[in-house]
Symmetry: D2
Subunit: 161 residues, 4 copies
């Protein structure tokens, strides 16, 4: 079974965050994982762009009701109409989660993922909440983030079977 | 932009309903449309099976939290954890909807689609509610159902641009 | 435990439908039941108005994010931000459901309630879908509707304990 | 218009957290505010208990489908069936939010409230995320927490009118 990795981060992102997201998307696609994200700009657009460079599959769970708001690198654009509550769906659709950057929406997804027992990998995100829990890991690079997330996702899938 | 067509129907389906669903899935895939469904058995499984015969893309929006409950013909399995409320998401994710068979869950999706202005095409489904509204059409065959749904979906997409 | 009765119907309602809703609200309040509705105008406003005449408690589950859209007879106004998906929540919050009038939104709630095993009582609503199922009953009057709904709700509560 | 104050915190709570929650509930009820919470035990039960000592109105938005899981001090028990996604609804139903204690579910609600522009008051909760933002304030006592939340809620209500 393929791994579904949620990549979360804000639509307003720094160049460094976008570069990280692009590298994460590429590494996920190369590993055969499906990218799940919020479908809009910034980190969401960069991770999809990276994934499409390597023929990955990208899912965008949009907050509004208009499919056309998805960025052009989203393959499956899903207008949820749930507003920011769609953050919780992104987490539910994912086996593990990579967080990039430090907005409140990102933190809500980190916390929801932790609450529901998913591995969270932080790449330059919310250092303030990082403690010593094994299920909330700091990654040093995009490649490191992907490796940690995929390892956890594969445990999840095996654990479920 | 690709059309997203929701195909709704129950997990307990007759042989005729399954055959209709399979034919609908095949015709949608041949037309390049993305199939959105509830991801479980019966009508949902048959439409995905038909779509995969022609290399279509199939999305399953699951009621529970376990991705493994998806039928084997689902490409993108999305465990929503929303229970029967996920019916509303299936409709939101779709440009138009084809209903097959007559269970209550199917009727909730028909009504929700009508409420939100989407074309509904009924193929052996809820004859009792069919009136003379142009947006709730009775199809005579799977091919007819697909043609009606795709025409409406393309109007929707054009209307939005 | 108090009974929670969902009263569903459209914001555009005839004078007869509003009169029925008002009488239903009064009878529910006199019986000590909590009224759950969509919180807007038409049937929703009339049922709340009727309930408040007899000091009932009224809950309005709003589609948007603005509490101020609730009608003035709503005691507890809950802005869900879920759009029409909030119809499903109204049903979940209710032990049994009374439907008044014939719009698509009302039908989606009827079908969702049937799907989830709740008694539905139709008072001048969707005669076309009424069959011979015991759990979808036609009421002849507001008082009849309330009696049928409360009897079913009390079964539900007892059944759960 | 009455203020709706969300009080969030875990079902496993320390004696100090429960005492804080009880005092918060009492102060909210005395001020005429409606208490919105998750409806279960721990902080949720204590805040409802405190509110009922002063005749307050308490709303419990439950994660599951069974109304009987609500604690005995909940006046309006709403079984959402949304699982942990109901955290987002609690925030949407509230004008401002008081967070007590440090679980992940609580953090998801803090972050969601911040994301959607609501005042968050932390009473012994997630000191790690507290920065210098005016909209995320640390309270020194239950009374202080209630005063900060009510002031913000009243701004919200006025701002909306």
């Amino acid at each position: 079974m393929k791994s579904y990795i949620g990549v979360i981060g804000a639509s307003e992102a720094t160049a460094a965050e976008r570069a990280n997201a692009r590298a994460v998307g590429s590494a996920l696609a190369e590993a055969g994982a499906i990218v799940v994200c919020g479908g809009l700009g910034g980190v969401m657009e960069a991770v999809c762009e990276g994934a499409k460079l390597h023929d990955g599959l990208t899912i965008g769970v949009l907050p509004g009701s208009d499919r056309a708001t998805a960025n052009v690198h989203v393959d499956v654009a899903l207008p949820s109409g749930l507003g920011e509550l769609r953050n919780g769906l992104i987490v539910r659709f994912s086996d593990a989660v990579i967080a990039i950057g430090g907005e409140w929406g990102t933190l809500s997804e980190i916390a929801f993922a932790m609450r529901t027992g998913r591995q969270v990998v932080a790449l330059g995100s919310w250092e303030r909440v990082l403690g010593d829990e094994r299920s909330l890991r700091r990654a040093e690079s995009p490649e490191d983030a992907v490796a940690l997330a995929l390892a956890a996702a594969s445990d999840t899938v095996e654990g479920a079977s």
